[in-house]
Amino acid sequence: MKRYGDIVAVNGVSFRVKYGEIFGFLGPNGAGKTTTIHILSTLLKPTAGRALVAGYDVVREAASVRRSIGIVFQDPSLDEGLTAYENLYIHGRVYGLRGSALRERIEEMLGFVELEEYRDRLVRTFSGGMRRRLELARALLHEPRVLFLDEPTLGLDPHARTRLWEYITRLRAEKGVTIFLTTHYMEEAEQLCDRIAIIDKGRIVATGSPDELKSMLGDEVVYMRVSDPGKACKALERLESVKECKVLQGGRVSIHVPSAAQTIPELLEAAKNSGVRVVEVSYRRPTLNDVFIHLTGRGIEEESVDETERIRIYARSYFRRKG
């Protein structure tokens, strides 16, 4: 639990992250994502409650926690007056690396985030995407066991975003780092995370893999265009996995099933056996946004998100200009 004066920022946040997993915190602005990350990274002391990171208590064994983690903050944290290389060099020395081992490690990380050519340029001249990549490289430089990413793709264009996603997935595949990330992008949570906790107003409202969360809503809906809708429905409703089959306009039927991916082959088989020709199949899965609406009665309102994001991006470029 964390309280700022009268404001309770997070409360009743309880979860476990497995070794080597990518765990996501998904929630709207002000949900308490950053507060949670700051508590886990020892930057804030919890008002109450206990947290272990890499097996260490974040209050009593803060030094051990700090040695085990790497972090990319939500807001910029690079030294803009230094070059990419110098930023990494300083980080490395502070984390106890030195000499040729440090130099090699810096080269490796610059390579990993594809910034080799920009190594000697001042960070002040970097684009938002380049800065983000450099921050990722820096967070990984000392080979942390746990990596925290606070809204790693905030304010990036779609191209830069996909690129960062690639690095993150590669990380898990190649290094087995445990990753804790926060985001308010549904797509990001779905693409990257093994498991997700949905957080709203300082509380976790649900935890599970993206598929588990979505199946909380029950049905998935399969749409088929067939040669004979009436006959198709009659045949399909006899299947155990089909809850309901409705005839729609235009030769289409909608079929409610618990899991479309598992049932579609069965549906096709049954249709074929009853002599119905299937022209087209599609299905709609409930999105994480649907899950969020289901749990909180509201969507993660994209519009308000864009608004704060704009302000933030503005603030960044403002500081950059001043710097």
């Binding site: 700022y4 700051h38 990274s41 020892t42 930057l43 804030l44 002391k45 030094a63 700090r66 040695r67 983690i69 972090i71 903050f73 807001d75 910029p76 944290s77 690079l78 030294d79 803009e80 007056g81 230094l82 110098e86 060099y89 300083i90 980080h91 020395r93 502070v94 984390y95 106890g96 030195r98 001042l122 820096r138 500081f319 710097g323």
Partner: protein
């Protein structure tokens, strides 16, 4: 954390301050031009006034410029190191501070490195001013300059620690103007950089002896032109005391600094 890790953190934070220093020529130029303006306009103005017979006796036997220039050097060490201590607020604003706060090194180590680096840049600036002002000073020895710079370095440590201590308690630059008018200016005027302490009224004298800058001005003057109001050993003691006290206070306050 091993002692080696401590040293690494101290070293690399000092390295960072020096990198920033060499990257900002405009800052270097400003920090040299400002004292030169004092020497040229303020100094030359009064120097031509204090030309009457017996005037030198007022300044311990040297002409006014020789009296003033060491004071200006000490003043520039003071403002340079104090303001770079305060500039930790920039790190807070631009976010780099988080990188330090989350690092596995003791904060004191990072802070010490920063102080040592800032003090070095302030001393380098003082050295440049000394070299430029040299032709205007009577009686100066090479060794004297070295000692003066050594004392300057000691003073700079205390003053940048003071800057960091104050910045650790500040949220933004709002209080900055206040500090300028309530701290920097009085400390400079009390220090005896512009006029001898000897002729001050007793209450002003009392304040002057409580001003740490006084000891730095006195020592610099002693080593550059051989005129002193205070024994240089006492100056040394006062500066060491200042360093120890302020580094401890700054270490404590900086250690307590959080994101809230």
């Amino acid at each position: 954390m091993t002692p080696m890790g401590w040293l690494d953190a101290v070293y690399v934070m000092a390295y960072r301050q020096l990198k920033h220093f060499v990257r900002s020529p405009s800052r270097i130029i400003a920090s040299i031009v400002n004292p030169l303006i004092w020497i040229l306009f303020f100094g030359m103005g009064w120097a031509s006034t204090f030309r009457f017979p017996g005037a030198k006796a007022l300044f311990g036997g040297v002409d006014y410029l020789s009296f003033l220039i060491p004071g200006i050097i000490a003043m520039s060490v003071f403002t340079g190191s104090f303001l770079s201590g305060i500039s930790i607020l920039f790190d807070k604003q631009f976010g780099f501070l988080k990188e330090i706060l989350v690092a596995p090194v003791p904060r004191v180590a990072a802070m010490t490195g920063r102080i040592l680096g800032d003090s070095l840049t302030a001393t380098i600036e003082a050295g440049i001013i000394a070299v430029i002002g040299l032709p205007l000073i009577t009686r100066v020895s090479f060794l004297g300059i070295l000692y003066a710079l050594l004392y300057s370095y000691l003073a700079a440590i205390g003053f940048s620690a003071l800057g960091i201590a104050i910045a650790s308690r500040m949220r933004s630059y709002e209080g900055f103007q206040l500090i300028m008018s309530f701290l920097i200016m009085p400390l400079i005027f009390l220090s005896g950089a512009f006029y001898p302490i000897r002729y001050m009224p007793w209450w002003l004298k009392l304040l002057a002896y409580m001003d740490p800058l006084t000891y730095s001005v006195d020592a610099t003057r002693y080593w550059l032109v051989g005129v002193a109001q205070i024994n240089p050993w006492i100056d040394l003691g006062a500066l060491l005391l200042l360093d120890a006290g302020l580094v401890i206070v700054a270490g404590y306050l900086f250690g307590k600094m959080s994101l809230e």
